[in-house]
């Protein structure tokens, strides 16, 4: 009997020892250097656990941690080990309890790998936004960053409330082909388009689970469509029909320059299988690219630049943002083209406009040149107030490296964008909350379980991110069959 009690006490003490904060930790008056840098970020309720490690992204030997996450409005959870490993359900509950408040992190860590001495850092906070992020997650393409050969490309979707990532279409399904530009209609994947290039390629339009493969190349359109953007009513999709090329630098500052030899904008009517063309959108001597419809669908925005002798004149590629009216009932364009941002005048290039779905803001990319900003180190995100048309650089979310390819959440409160801020080479996804004043909160990296290990072993860049309201239902087997059989719906010009 006595032995049994001793055993119980032993295990109780052992259990307590395992779950309590390290004693005798030396307090230091600085916040910990953590990877990813989640200090003072703003997160939505129910986001996946914001696991982090002590140290930098390239530290070889991990340091054990013990982290207490306490809500300003209540609740406390523990994460410990080589990284702050929070239980998903406990974490979600904590964020829900503290919506509009803060989560305060008390971090204890070994002073050095495998050391018996511990440090207690100064507390830091994450803020839990009042604005929800109810979208299921994000879709993106993963592609090795680089040069001419795409390699092991894949389109994936990730549940942002957990760590689940599933493949939608990968290179094993369509060997040797390139595919991208998967685009839902304002985060709604019930309408979805993507493009596959190479033998058997085509443009996929999926509406309510039914796949249709079309060939947008005609006598009047020089190439298949890419860089898609849906009209809000879901009937039309705008594409840029273009040819994209790469050249490479010999020095060390930049590896690659990407340019287009031609580009025109076409709008596809999914109901009648017709292409809508307009002289303003296929001007000889200009390249029109990156279309985007306004929130009400009455305006089509796009970037345009004078044709140059690329690659020789790659420095001269300066894009302006223009707007042309669009009547969804008749499928006709307006007669007037307005210039919202004049790249030639400013000696800058403005591309990839993304109006928020509530019509309040427009975020775009500004760089010194080019109509393919992801390879420009100086590419930054700018924002236009759609009421006043005032613009400003989003310094609060930009870095010294490339920021590009961004999209809004369905409630127009959250933004996902690509950035090379981490190591200058591998594009990763960041999230920020856009407030009523158009200011973004400190961006946070897409959370991962054991983030240092995950990102260290990730040899792909993330690009073309977009929110998805619900899980994308995509039959990859059917896509494989359709790509193979090469039957394509023929389109007509209206």
């Amino acid at each position: 009997m006595f032995r049994r009690y001793i055993t119980y006490i032993f295990f109780a003490v052992l259990f307590a020892a395992c779950t309590s904060a390290p004693e005798d930790a030396v307090k230091v008056n600085k916040t910990p250097k953590i990877y990813p840098d989640y200090v003072d970020v703003t997160i939505p309720v129910d986001i996946a656990p914001m696991d982090f490690c002590i140290g930098s992204s390239t530290d070889d030997e991990p340091r054990e941690m013990y982290v207490m996450a306490k809500g300003s409005k209540g609740g406390e959870i523990i994460g410990k080990g080589e990284y702050a490993d929070f239980d998903i359900d406990e974490w979600h509950e904590l964020t829900r309890q503290n919506r509009g408040g803060d989560i305060i992190f008390t971090v204890y860590a070994e002073s050095a790998p495998s050391s018996s001495k511990w440090i207690q850092y100064k507390d830091f906070r994450m803020h839990v936004s009042n604005y929800k992020l109810d979208d299921y997650g994000v879709t993106y393409r993963r592609i090795p960053p680089g040069y001419e050969v795409g390699g092991n490309i894949g389109i994936y979707q990730r549940d942002i409330h957990s760590f689940d990532e599933t493949a939608m279409l990968t290179e094993s399904a369509v060997v040797g082909q390139c595919f991208n530009c998967h685009t839902p209609n304002r985060t709604d994947p019930r309408q979805f388009t993507a493009q596959v290039r190479g033998e058997g390629g085509g443009t996929l339009i999926q509406i309510n689970g039914k796949q249709e493969w079309i060939d947008t190349k005609t006598d009047s359109t020089k190439a298949a469509g890419s860089y898609a953007y849906w009209h809000p009513d879901g009937r039309y999709v705008a594409y840029a029909a273009n040819s994209v090329h790469q050249s490479f630098f010999t020095g060390t500052k930049k590896p690659i320059e990407v340019y287009h030899k031609f580009s025109n904008i076409i709008v596809y009517d999914t109901r009648t299988h017709e292409l809508l063309l307009d002289p303003a959108l296929e001007t000889p001597g200009s390249l029109e690219i990156f279309p985007a419809f306004s929130a009400d669908g009455k305006t089509l925005y796009y970037s345009t630049s004078d044709a140059c002798d690329v690659p020789r004149e790659y420095l001269k590629v300066k894009c302006s943002v223009c707007a042309i009216g669009f009547d969804a009932k008749t499928g006709k364009f307006g007669s007037k083209v307005d210039t919202l941002l004049n790249g030639k005048k400013d000696n800058m290039s403005y591309v990839q406009v993304r109006p928020s779905y509530d019509g309040r803001w427009m975020i775009y990319v500004r760089c010194s040149r080019s109509n393919f900003p992801i390879v420009q180190p100086d590419a930054d995100l700018w924002i236009m107030d759609m009421k006043t048309h005032q613009v400003r650089e989003m310094k609060e979310i930009n870095s010294r490296r490339t920021e590009s390819y961004h999209n809004w959440s369905s409630n127009s409160r959250w933004l996902v964008f690509s950035s090379k801020r981490d190591d200058g080479m591998y594009t990763k996804l960041y999230f920020t909350c856009i407030g009523n004043d158009g200011r973004g909160t400190k961006p946070f990296l897409l959370p991962q379980r054991n983030p240092r290990k995950y990102y260290m072993e990730m040899f792909d860049a993330y690009n073309v991110p977009d929110f998805t309201k619900t899980k994308v239902e995509f039959d990859s087997h059917e896509a494989i069959r359709k790509i193979k059989d090469q039957k394509r719906t023929t389109v007509k010009i209206r």
Binding site: A167, A173, F248, F249, T252, E457, S476
Partner: protein
């Protein structure tokens, strides 16, 4: 007495067979083993194991990749390979004896011989023979035991070895008879169920024919993928039907059938001489055996740019390019470096040339594209190492560390990766960053290539290779290889305007006592307006004119 004699005779034959296999792969064709190794990167990590076994046939893939990593040392790879062949022969023999097949010992060499044949096809992977051995092993272990567990065994075996589960099913069929027929449906059902539920990113053809049996997915070689899977059960079955058959008629017919159903293009490429030579050059480049490349080139020419690139690189590394360039086949203006081709082999000599020249960005680009051209999606140890080196030279330390971390999980690249990591380690303070730069700048290779790198940043233009080499040389006149390549490219292009200046550079900076024989020949040929019998340069010019 007869039994003992037979036993020793059999053992003797097996030993001879294994030794012959070893000698073939270690001495005659080690470069094919090297080629296999450079198209994968086996990692000692749980993530890698889980990644492999997450597709049908994954366990066989994992084991084969484990074996192939040792092809890094071809002599060691040949030993392991001989072991695989021996296992296949022994298991075949055991299975045949178990099923009372006459001439079992003779027939036990069918599969190893077919494996030897198909290994000459460069698309062949070790996954196939490993999976075949596993199927044979399971068939032997199952013997004539109860069929019931096969309801579970067959689906599991499919997932671990892939469609070669059919070898198991058919061997069990010939052991158990017609009452085993329902398990044929179990086998088919397992494949279809796996395709539907577990393999959303693979076409039906791969679920049925194998995902990683060949380097290129979706490639189908019926003679191999079907023929080798069914030949042993077919032989056993035929002996059951024709009990008095003494002559291996069925075997001969089956082997002929396998050969005939193999696509003629595939057949033509198996052990073909040109592929053999090009892979040998690839292997020799990798091991920096420049004199061997030249010696082989003196005996056999392959009229391809790859061959020219390799030979010219070897000549440059041994200081012979100026003298002997046109004594060897020159494919044209692309004889020094090729415009990038999107496959996993062609750009290797060009990548190596760029690296040694100091055109680090170009070497990095070619290395990257070579790696991404491995259609199975695997990484390559050699290429990962080269990419890391380029990044170190370029000062891209964080991405370099990613690649080094990968290589630290291997046997053969680990030591180098640890050394490289020590070289580039630095804290955040200015002093340790400066120390790092000092270390790299003092490195025999990396420091030299940093000094050789192009100083100006401009867009690479393949059509102006001569000017790029010229600029490279003018940026650092100690870059003798750049000088050699500059003059060589001018001669290949036939650019007479640049030639005089190029030759002057060679005279001033080449360190030659007299004009190199190759340049002298070119000058004489130009003076004779191409009419100079016996001139290697004149032959080249005439050939280019005819093209």
């Amino acid at each position: 007495m007869n039994k003992a004699k037979t036993k020793y005779l059999s053992a003797g034959v097996e030993v001879l067979f294994v030794v012959a296999i070893y000698l073939f792969w270690a001495i005659v064709y080690p470069h094919l083993l090297s080629y296999q190794e450079q198209n994968q990167l086996f990692l000692f990590s749980s993530d890698y194991f889980i990644h492999d076994i997450s597709v049908a046939g994954g366990l066989a893939d994992y084991i084969s990749e484990f074996i192939v990593q040792f092809f890094y040392l071809p002599w060691l790879g040949a030993i392991l390979l001989a072991g695989v062949y021996l296992a296949m022969q022994t298991l075949s023999w055991s299975v045949l004896k178990q099923r009372n097949c006459r001439l079992a010992f003779l027939y036990s060499f069918i599969l190893p011989l077919l494996t030897l044949y198909f290994m000459g096809f460069i698309q062949f992977t070790m996954s196939y023979p490993v999976a075949l051995c596993m199927a044979l092993l399971m068939a032997w272990l199952s013997g004539k035991k109860s069929m019931i567990p096969d309801i579970v065994v067959i689906p599991l075996l499919y997932w671990t070895i892939g469609p070669l589960v059919w070898t198991y099913t058919l061997l069990r069929f010939v052991a158990k008879g017609w009452r085993y027929s329902p398990f044929v449906l179990v086998t088919l059902g397992s494949q279809l169920a796996a395709y539907y539920f577990l393999l959303p990113q693979y076409p039906l053809s791969e679920a049925m024919g194998g995902i990683n049996y060949l380097q290129t997915p979706n490639l189908f070689v019926p003679g191999m993928q079907i023929g080798m899977a069914v030949i042993l059960p077919l032989v056993i079955f035929s002996h059951q039907i024709f009990k008095n058959m003494r002559f291996p008629v069925v075997v001969i017919v089956a082997m002929l059938g396998i050969w005939l159903t193999t696509d003629s293009e595939v057949r033509g490429s198996i052990y073909d001489k040109s592929t053999f030579e090009l892979l040998r050059q690839d292997y020799l480049i990798r091991n920096e055996k420049w004199n061997d490349i030249i010696a082989n080139a003196e005996k056999f020419t392959v009229n391809t740019p790859f061959w020219s690139n390799s030979v010219n690189l070897a000549l440059a590394q041994t200081g012979q390019l100026a003298d002997r360039q046109f004594s060897f086949y020159q494919s044209g203006p692309n004889a020094l470096v090729m415009a990038s081709i999107r496959d996993n082999t062609s750009d290797f000599p060009s990548m190596e040339a760029f690296f040694r020249l100091g055109m680090v960005n170009s070497s990095l680009r070619y290395a990257h594209d070579l790696q991404e051209s491995i259609v199975s999606g695997r990484k390559s140890g050699w290429l990962t190492k080269r990419i890391a080196e380029c990044m170190i030279i370029n000062g891209q330390y964080n991405p370099a560390i990613k690649h080094l971390n990968l290589l630290k999980k291997t046997i053969f690249y680990r030591a180098w990766a640890c050394e490289a990591e020590t070289l580039i380690q630095a804290g955040n303070d200015k002093s340790s960053i400066q120390q790092r730069e000092k270390r790299i700048n003092a490195h025999q290779v990396y420091g030299k290539l940093r000094r050789f790198r192009l100083k100006e940043d401009f867009l690479y233009n393949y059509g102006e290779m001569d000017k790029m080499f010229g600029l490279l040389f003018s940026g650092n006149v100690k870059n003798k290889m750049a000088l050699d390549y500059f003059v060589a490219q001018v001669l290949l292009n036939g650019n007479m305007q640049l030639l005089q200046g190029a030759l002057q550079c060679a005279q001033q900076y080449g360190g030659y006592y007299g004009m190199p024989a190759g340049y002298m020949d070119a000058v004489k040929c130009i003076q004779a307006k191409g009419d100079l019998p016996g001139s290697p340069y004149a032959d080249y010019v005439a050939r280019m004119r005819n093209q």
